[in-house]
Symmetry: D2
Subunit: 341 residues, 4 copies
């Protein structure tokens, strides 16, 4: 086993808290009405609630108040990525964990649609949130007569741009995330350049990819079948939003996803994602991809545009300002495999 | 060759007129708003125009004012099935043809969305119309953002219930229709029990099936892919119209269609139809099915409900009253093959 | 809350063992080659291994030696339904659990493709097996060039016919299964007639439906999208197996599945199953269906054939003979809702 | 109307011959076994016959001996594109037409699977063939159990690279081809840069696009639904042929096609094509696209690779050598709209 293979094969931690899954994200947008038109009208997500400066949306299957918050802000940014934990006690255990690491930790008690929220900035600067109590809403999965767009059924995962994938990977493993797939360089230069980590038994709740960070590369939302991904493209183009389609539709080698990447009016990236697989077995083996395999990120060999590698949403630091980013240690050759391979 | 095979193999007539395709149908409905809700809201057809007692609809691909007219009437009935001809002269030639056969012939000059219309009742009592000039409308094929339902793209064909399929078949062959598929009984009792006839190079513009007639069994509308047929079922059920789904979805052996049959609020039957094939070659051979082949009408063997065999829309006679019907000569055993085979 | 609602809403037990998911099933077949032709050739499952009297198959995604065993036997029967547990210790804890209930318990140490297997007959006579160690095989999920049939990706669930759904439900809840959906009678006659129970976060690993039992109603296998279900029907019919299609394709209200039910050459029932949803949240609320809602089992209203309600695979008792069955307490009216509603 | 619009709107000729449709193509390949592996094994076309240096293939729906001939040759080239005519007399009338234009005309009497073949080189150097008699074969449309790949159902169209689209357009109009869609430059520089022409009532039998010519840009084959296009990509990649996928899958604005372009082992380009529409009405209006509309060739805005614009199959001149080509008059800016727009 190479060092990377040993890193990936190491047992996952069994921490004293239980993170269930990726649950919600807040995006800061510069024109709330324009963003609402994109997510609710063009992509057809359900609007649960609006208040003065925010809109709360969810997918058609979801039983919770919201999985996406659009909040008016001075500049585009990712507010935080939110995870659900099994019980209220898990929040306290997580607070202790982050505090013991010297991270900023805060409690946010009065969010719309959420119970007590733990805010934390991880050692790499990513703004995280954890919650147990979600205000319930009825699933609209079988209101086929109301569905619009793909339709988007539920939030699936987050993808983070990190300049040090290996260190970030180690951190999330200590939070109890299992690795399902990863990309590594070949030969002597044995490095981890991407990793797919999960708590729920799908391919991921969280992906880490090498790049300037901390930044949010994209949020992934679940679509029931490839035909829905195609339908969304047709509808976006027909409504005059052809520029929103950044990459795809296509098939990822990693995760088996049939996907398309969209950019919202502020440049936040959304992946419409379908076709992954069951990973819930206790000994589910991580799948290794070589960075030089052209099918790894594009199973059909299609070249991704530079923007997909270079651009990401800034995240907010504990003071509410855009977090400083770094690309030290990011080897461009490794991150952008399709271009040069 | 058996007598039926000889009948089917005989050369098609080359009459002095050129019928292009099935073009429109008028249905008499007893509650115009209720029917509009079904066709426009639930099935998602485009409304081109409304006047006092009629609504004019079309499919998303169609470049003509309408292919379906819903007209308020005292009882459910099929007003007429309409065909387009290549030029205005063809109308005069058709008028001569029908007159020479002793059929009632009338001109209807001032229809909404149509040019000069020839009305004729064929020797079996079916009310037919022919037109050349269609008021143009822009195709909405690529307004994917506006599409609703399957979506329904265009009118494809009519299916008529006739007590004497062989005689009716002979008549339409003299109008220049080619046979693409047919169902015949086996052995000594050599009878034609169903025939698919066409002018445009698809499986049919007109089907004839054995049953009490003259009645309109259904109109068939084109859907781009099987997924659209499933989507329409999901949407009808979700909107509280589960009773509208009469048969299917399923695959026909005949025509290869992936279909579902719906009943509108007045009982008129609509087939959502996809997956047929090219038949335009001059020597395209008619495909024979045995009435005892269980895959003939239901490729997957699914039994059709009795209503599908027994019920049809009445048609109007030249006086505007429901035409008298007969089932003399209809052999129930042959018509309802799946039930008893 | 009605008594049934209280039963369903009661907290799930936290037993000292952890069942991960439905993992495999063994079917006794009377002509091994004929069954192999059905499952491997017609349905396109992967054959991992054959020995003298058995064939071991798996779905294209599965990383384990097999999920289906076909074993030559004197008469059709379900050998056992098998579940995977998280660790070897869980097997001992389960053995203790079954022993304490007075159930027959046995160890089977030398199965092909499996580690130590615990056999147990539950209080209702169902033959169960539990295993931790599964011999690994490589996933063939992305060998799209080799896929055949739907394709079948993995085993999803079992459905058991039980004359006393409420008692059986209570038993499985004590094993730690959560209820995701259930069917209950209305009004004063408040009875549970069907229940969908799960360990993995999908709609079910196990369904219980009212009927003569103990019998195995069907095994459900996962198909990636509705188009695969249609493709399987087309292929079965084209290969001369039209009689294998028993019910569907269609949509279930319960579970949202797009399904088709097939009968293998011995009459064992297989459901090709797609389109369910995520259920992994700790407070996921069970969804109640009224037995009188026509969309409950057939979202599109299609009537299921009597065979689907009446026929099931016998199971084997601890002596290897067909288990005695009972229908005491099965109210035919409630079980067969579509027929009479 | 601009000059281009006048050109397109001019009445189509009614010549004394009747071309029915695009019917077959012959490709010269440098390694027959390698090409057979691509078309028969990887794409799953039906092999009707092989002789020493040629393989004859067809789509699953086709009732003719072949629509594709692969013939061993010293270098990759397109042998000829073949059209079917309505009767034998039409061949003689076409021979007279080509002779009167001073074109080389030859008769080829003894082709495998074809009757009397008329060979002609058009004024622009394209090698054409015309035939009436096609040796019949049974359609395999409903042998779903045997289908492989997309599957490919039938040949649909040819696309020719021509340095002078306007002149070539005029020529084909005189052969009776109708224009369904076209691309034109805007403003004062009013030029035709692409045209879709047809005899059968689909979008095209023949497309002309601006580029170095005479060369064959691609042959288009019909696939029943978008899912088939995706399946073909997955299978090509899984079988190690990821390099064969050149462009797409995607949606064309022109023709509404859901497509993917493949390159065979000799570089010949194949389009898997689905989703076009009915064009058979006598007054079907040509649809104009502006060369500066980004959705024209890529409805979703995806950039096509340079190879798609630059590379094409050479055609053979009357002496059997590669025809000389020219790009005089090809305005690169106009031809490659997506790149620079």
């Amino acid at each position: 086993m190479t060092p990377v293979e040993e890193l990936v094969a190491a047992p996952v931690a069994a921490p004293p808290f239980d993170i269930v899954r990726a649950a919600y994200v807040e995006l800061r947008v510069t024109d709330l009405e324009r963003s609402a038109a994109f997510y609710a009208d063009a992509l057809g997500m359900l609007v649960t609630e609006r208040d003065g400066d925010a809109i709360y949306l969810r997918g058609w299957e979801e039983r919770q108040h919201h999985s996406l918050v659009l909040r008016q802000g001075p500049a585009p940014a990712a507010g935080a990525v939110g995870f659900r934990v099994r019980g209220e006690d898990d929040l306290d255990a997580l607070a202790a964990e982050f505090s013991s690491r010297g991270c900023v930790v805060r409690w946010s008690p009065d969010r719309i649609g959420l119970g007590r929220v733990l805010q934390a900035w991880d050692p790499f600067g990513f703004p995280l949130e954890f919650v147990h109590a979600l205000e319930p809403r009825e699933s609209q999965l079988q209101r086929f007569d109301l569905h619009r767009g793909a339709p988007i059924l539920r939030l699936d995962h987050f993808n983070l741009h990190s300049p040090d994938v290996e260190a970030t990977f180690g951190f999330w493993r200590e939070l109890g995330f299992r690795c399902t797939e990863y990309i590594a360089t070949d030969g002597d230069d044995d490095r981890l350049t991407g990793a797919w980590l999960t708590r729920k038994p799908t391919v991921h709740d969280l992906a880490l990819t090498a790049g300037r960070g901390p930044r949010l590369h994209h949020i992934g939302v679940w679509v029931g079948e490839p035909a829905g991904v195609l339908r969304a493209c047709d509808q976006l183009a027909a409504s005059g939003r052809v520029g929103a389609i950044e990459r795809g539709p296509g098939r990822h080698g990693v995760s088996n996803a049939f996907f398309v990447y969209l950019r919202d009016p502020d440049g936040h990236r959304i992946e419409l994602y379908s076709c992954d697989y069951y990973t819930g077995d206790p000994d589910h083996p991580p799948l290794r991809w070589s960075v030089s395999d052209p099918r790894c990120r594009s199973f059909w060999g299609t070249r991704a545009p530079d923007s997909w590698y270079d651009e990401s949403s800034p995240v907010l630091d504990a003071g509410g300002a855009p977090a400083e980013t770094s690309d030290a240690g990011v080897d461009e050759r490794r991150a952008r495999t399709e271009v040069l391979a």
